[in-house]
Amino acid sequence: MSIGANSSGADLSVRDLSWAPARGGTPLLHPVSFEVQAGRVMGVVGPNGAGKTTLLRLLYRFHKPRTGSVLVGGEDIWHLSARDVACRVAAVLQEHPSDFALTVSEIVALGRTPHRRGFGGAAGSRDRDIIHAALARLELHHLGDRHLGTLSGGERQRVMVARALAQEPHLLILDEPTNHLDIRHQLEVLELIRTLPLTIVTSLHDLNLAAGVCDDVLLLESGSCIGFGPPRDVLSEAALSGVFGVEARRERLAPSNTDHLTFHLSHKETHL
């Protein structure tokens, strides 16, 4: 049984979504609207502090919006229970689990939590099949009995992705999935993003990776949406130069004949 057999994407529809901390008031995200059709990959890019994490937290129902709504498959996530949302939306975050001696299989099994009813959440045979499939998909079977604390950064990241897949979500949210990964593991994560049949929203630091893997890109600056659309349109030299405070150039790579963005500090700053 493959994960894809039971999973499919859901439309994500975001309307006038904004957020500010309950106290203090300064909005960290100004109203933003966008649509991501089922099965598409949306990237969220922008400088540090632009509001990428805030936006993602609103999408996985950690923050309650100040205004606006998030609809997954046409349903407002705040009209559903946390558990029902967890059956539709999974997230791979940058939290570092403390070492409480859980094994890889046990972490992946956590993905079945929202689907379980009953005392203590005993695993059924279907649960076990799904956990096995998720472990197999991320090539983690040989690590099943290892403690998370003994794994490398790349292996841990794969464990958390497997855990999210075991949740059988329709929408998968990834927060900087390539952070701290070596180049091979970065490419593997991107390959996975490309091939999963789910709707995916991912924040990415590397703009060239974003351009390569995303169908649509949302560019944020200081909590405001600067652009939304196909990477070629949104990640223009002018927009990136303004948002990141650098000189961005789109260059043509030979011999692969693909676009590649390069960045340089603007002339004035290099003299500082």
């Binding site: 949302v85 975050l93 403690h147 292996e155």
Partner: protein, 351 residues
């Protein structure tokens, strides 16, 4: 951090767990038997179980022992050993649960102000009010104090918006200091000749165990323990992180507070009957994780089992080291626990 290829794979789950439970239960019964037979008057284990069986169904075994022996075994040692088991199991369960919801491996039933509140209540009864409610005065006031301190911690966490794991711990520690300061005021104002009773209460002891009082810790332990075990999956998720747990459908802040209150109920009732017994709740879950892994479906029952065994032996030590005097059991658990913890620390460094 590099992957260590040579890391031992934890014991195979199914068989390992069954073996662990069987070994644990056997060891528990053996420890119980030994705890009751040892003491100023040594009683053979056969007599211990003879008394027990005859109490269950009179005449089951031919009585070969004196009435005096029977009284020692049934009226003094049995309730004391059972209380030791319940206190050990309860404190270990609370420690394991709090460690998960605070993601703090140092979380302990006594960390969050619960025990300070219990001490405040007990000191009030011992030095100021007198036993106006009879023998249950000290336990009742200690329990009320524990719940009062818990209420204050909850109020502070709401007032200071301290719903995150770290801030809840800090709020608990702060309240613990304030309540302890208030308790010390009570000691200061009290009769100095009576303060040694406070010292003995605070160091913990099981010498006052009586059959008709065991029902209170038993009921609370069973109800709260069952609830915690039923939440094993959520506790597992909490160890990964607040945000990840919330994406798994767990109402993180509320769940943490409920676990805290359930833990306060257990700790409060245990503190009320046994005083402050340190280190059991802190250390036992770590030992259990080394034996059965980190899954709370095994950690919780395992902690209860190991905690019960550990406290039986701590009480045996407390009764025999300075016989015929009882040494306060808190001294034993502190000493053994502290040394044991250093051992765990040294082991972890190598892992």
């Amino acid at each position: 951090m590099t992957a260590d290829v040579g890391t031992p794979v934890p014991m195979r789950r199914k068989g390992g767990t069954v073996a662990f439970v069987l070994c644990g239960l056997t060891l528990l019964l053996a420890s119980l038997s030994f705890a009751i037979s040892v003491g100023a008057v040594a009683v053979p284990a056969g007599t211990v179980w003879g008394v027990f069986l005859n109490r269950l169904s009179p005449g089951f075994v031919e009585q070969t022992w004196s009435q005096g022996r029977e009284a020692i075994v049934w009226n003094i040692r049995f309730p004391r050993a059972l209380l030791a088991m319940m206190v050990g199991a309860g404190l270990a369960l609370v420690g394991a649960s709090l460690q998960a919801v605070t993601r703090n491996p140092l979380a302990d039933p006594h960390l969050l102000g619960i025990s300070s509140g219990g001490a405040f209540g007990a000191i009030l009864a011992l030095l100021h009010t007198g036993l106006f409610l009879g023998l249950l005065t000290v336990p009742l006031l200690a329990f009320a104090g524990a719940l009062g301190a818990t209420a204050i911690v909850l109020a502070v966490s709401r007032f200071a918006d301290a719903t995150s794991a770290d801030r809840l711990v800090l709020a608990g520690v702060a309240v613990s200091f304030i309540v302890m300061a208030a308790a010390n005021v009570l000691i200061f104002l009290g009769d100095p000749r009576a303060t040694h009773t406070v010292v003995f209460w605070m160091l913990g002891g099981l010498g006052l165990a009586q059959w008709d009082q065991l029902i209170y810790p038993l009921v609370i332990l069973c109800i709260c323990g069952a609830w915690l075990v039923s939440r094993s999956a959520a506790l597992n998720a909490m160890t990964v992180g607040d945000e990840t747990a919330s994406t798994l459908g767990i109402p993180v802040a509320r769940f943490r507070l409920v676990v805290f209150v359930v833990g306060a109920l257990i700790t409060g009732v245990m503190v009320a009957f046994s005083g402050i017994i340190g280190f059991v709740g802190l250390m036992v879950p770590h030992v259990v994780r080394m034996l059965v892994g980190g899954d709370y479906r095994r950690v919780l029952p395992g902690s209860a089992l190991v905690g019960a065994i550990l406290l039986l032996w701590a009480d045996i030590a407390a009764r025999t080291v300075m016989a015929p005097e009882d040494m306060p059991i808190g001294i034993v658990t502190g000493l053994v626990g502290g040394v044991g913890f250093i051992w765990i620390l040294a082991r972890k460094r190598g892992a």
